[in-house]
């Protein structure tokens, strides 16, 4: 095949696939700004014929606390990420640079836990939280994710490559181990930290299973659970408002993705453990 023809063929295939990928997004947004009468016509033409404006969005914002859902999402994601880093950075540094008896066992335990998803530990953790009266709190939403095995695993790899000579020199200069870790070794792994941060925020922003288990109060629901509560309340008939709600829920991650595409793709693909 001639190169021109091959390029033409590959572009047409890619564009067809791209249309399939974008179809739900396009459909979601245009339905959200369509008049209800047009939605029920079920035509294949996505573009609204008459200007309907943002009435569906106003309706959603009036009937569901979307702002509150977003705020909950921000609080939960930020809380999880902070504790994850505060736990994982020292642990990874200890595993990489401060050998101690039993460190292999700890590392093995972390590797084993890496393949245990939240859906497995959810049942006993739920029972424990319910026994302690901790259901329906931000803490309950965050606590199971305080330990990120993936962060420890990833950071340990990075810290290991940090030259021992520099650490030795810093020790001689009188820096404490704590200062060496926070001021020298951790900043050197900044790209890995950024990618991990994106990975963590996306995973917990989109997580539905665990919030569903521990949260029943609407005012504490993160965005996906809020979307579910809203969809159930709408009982599926009002597609204009549903699509407006879905647009609002999806928008923050789409914006983050477009802004930090490189870290985003790296963060998600560094691991299969989504």
């Amino acid at each position: 095949m001639k190169p021109k023809a091959a390029a033409f063929l590959s572009h047409s295939l890619l564009l067809c696939g791209a249309l399939f990928m974008l179809l739900p997004f396009v459909w979601m947004f245009f339905t959200a700004i369509k008049a209800p009468s047009e939605i029920f016509e079920a035509s294949m033409w996505p573009w609204p014929r008459t200007w309907f404006g943002f009435a569906h969005f106003q309706e959603v914002l009036k009937s569901a606390p979307m702002g509150r859902f977003m705020l909950n999402g921000v609080v939960v994601c930020a809380g999880i990420l902070c504790v994850q880093l505060l736990v994982a950075i020292p642990a990874a540094y200890a595993l990489a640079k401060l050998p101690f008896k039993g460190s292999e066992w700890l590392f093995l335990g972390i590797l084993a836990a890496l393949s245990v998803p939240i859906q497995v530990t959810a049942l006993p953790l739920y029972m424990g939280l319910s026994w302690a009266g901790g259901l329906n709190t931000y803490f309950a939403q965050m606590a199971p994710f305080f330990l990120s095995m993936f962060a420890i695993f990833l950071l340990r790899q990075h810290f290991k490559t940090y030259p021992d000579e520099i650490i030795q020199a810093a020790r001689i200069d009188g820096l404490t181990e704590w200062e060496i870790m926070w001021r020298l070794v951790a900043p050197a792994a900044r790209p890995a930290l950024a990618a991990f941060a994106v990975f963590s925020v996306v995973a917990h922003w989109n997580d539905l299973y665990w919030p569903m288990v521990v949260i029943s109060a609407t005012e504490l629901a993160p965005p996906p659970l809020g979307m579910l509560l809203f969809a159930t309340a709408e009982s599926g008939a009002n597609y204009g408002a549903l699509m407006a709600g879905a647009s609002l829920i999806s928008l923050p991650m789409v914006i983050v993705f477009l802004l930090a595409r490189k870290q985003f793709i790296q963060g998600i693909t560094m691991t299969g453990f989504r």
Binding site: M21, W27, L95, L123, P124, M127, L208, F257
Partner: protein, 296 residues
């Protein structure tokens, strides 16, 4: 400090223990204890709130294999995997092969194909429910325009799992594409050059004899991550069917038993079966470290 020289290595080890202690403690609280509790629970008939329980041995596990809902959830998950694994490998690789040689348009396509990976699945599942709606949806409108009969994608038990798998594919193709692009960029150009000198053509033969074998570890990784995400399907079922039209999947069955009916003992047994499936799938990854996999 007379012993400063001697005590130095000792204090470093203690520092290490101190720094790793929070992680170790969380590992015990969040993983070890829950797993032990699951094991113990699975041998009882405990129900949340009950004052009393009996030891029932392996009865919960025997019951699982006779439970029509759980068996159906396993079959549904298997059917889902049979669609999603070959589909995810084929389309992920196809898109990667087409994008890889593109220079100017590469990031344009990457963004579009990766967009579904990043979006909240519950929100997009709601959109898909609308797209697949028998009367109002785009897909049936398109089918009718082409002269086909309308299909009840969500309420017909024969169509519901393939429909869920279609949504699963839509969400994972971008992920698989990125993994395959990374795999493709690691194939040394010299191999292609050497093959060209030996008279190998650029098309099918080159793909079958070089690209595909060189990508074996990548494909294995894609198959594993796809299987694990297939075991974990939950959001789309919840949004589209709530388990109606016989569409239960493993996690949905566990969720119902544990958090709706509060049958903790039985749910613990189902959870352990779920964990066993995940562990088997992830341990296939160990094969990846074996370099011979290239030439398998």
């Amino acid at each position: 400090m007379p012993n400063a020289q001697l005590s130095k290595p000792l204090s470093t080890a203690w520092l290490g223990i101190g720094m790793a202690a929070p992680a170790g403690l969380l590992l015990i609280i969040l993983y070890a204890l829950p797993l032990i509790s699951l094991l113990v629970l699975s041998l009882t008939n405990y129900e949340l709130g009950a004052l009393d329980f009996q030891w029932t041995g392996t009865q919960n596990f025997q019951r699982a294999w006779a439970d029509p809902v759980f068996v159906r959830s396993l079959k549904n998950t298997l059917l889902y995997m049979l669609i999603v694994i070959p589909g995810g490998v084929f389309f992920g690789l196809l898109v990667a092969l087409l994008i890889h040689p593109r220079i100017r348009s590469r990031s344009f396509y990457e963004v579009i194909y990766f967009l579904p990976v990043t979006s909240s699945l519950i929100a997009m599942a709601t959109v898909w429910q609308f797209l697949l709606h028998p009367k109002l949806g785009f897909v049936n409108a398109a089918l009718k325009a082409m002269g086909f009969a309308e299909i009840a994608f969500i309420s017909d038990p024969g169509w519901v799992i393939p429909s869920l798998a279609l949504i699963g594919l839509w969400q994972m193709i971008g992920f698989n594409m990125i993994i395959y692009l990374a795999g493709l960029s690691q194939i040394p150009a010299e191999i292609y050059e050497a093959a060209a000198i030996d008279g190998m053509g650029a098309g099918w033969e080159r793909f079958l004899r070089i690209t595909w074998p060189m990508l074996t570890p990548t494909t294995l990784f894609v198959v594993i991550t796809t299987s694990i995400s297939a075991f974990k399907v939950f959001d789309t079922v919840l949004a589209l069917t709530q388990g109606k039209s016989e569409s239960e999947v493993i996690l949905y069955a566990i969720y119902l038993e544990g958090f709706q009916y509060f049958k903790m003992g039985y749910a613990a047994a189902l959870t352990l079966i779920f964990l066993a499936l995940i562990v088997v799938a992830s341990s296939l990854q160990l094969l990846k470290w074996d370099k011979k996999v290239h030439y398998a």
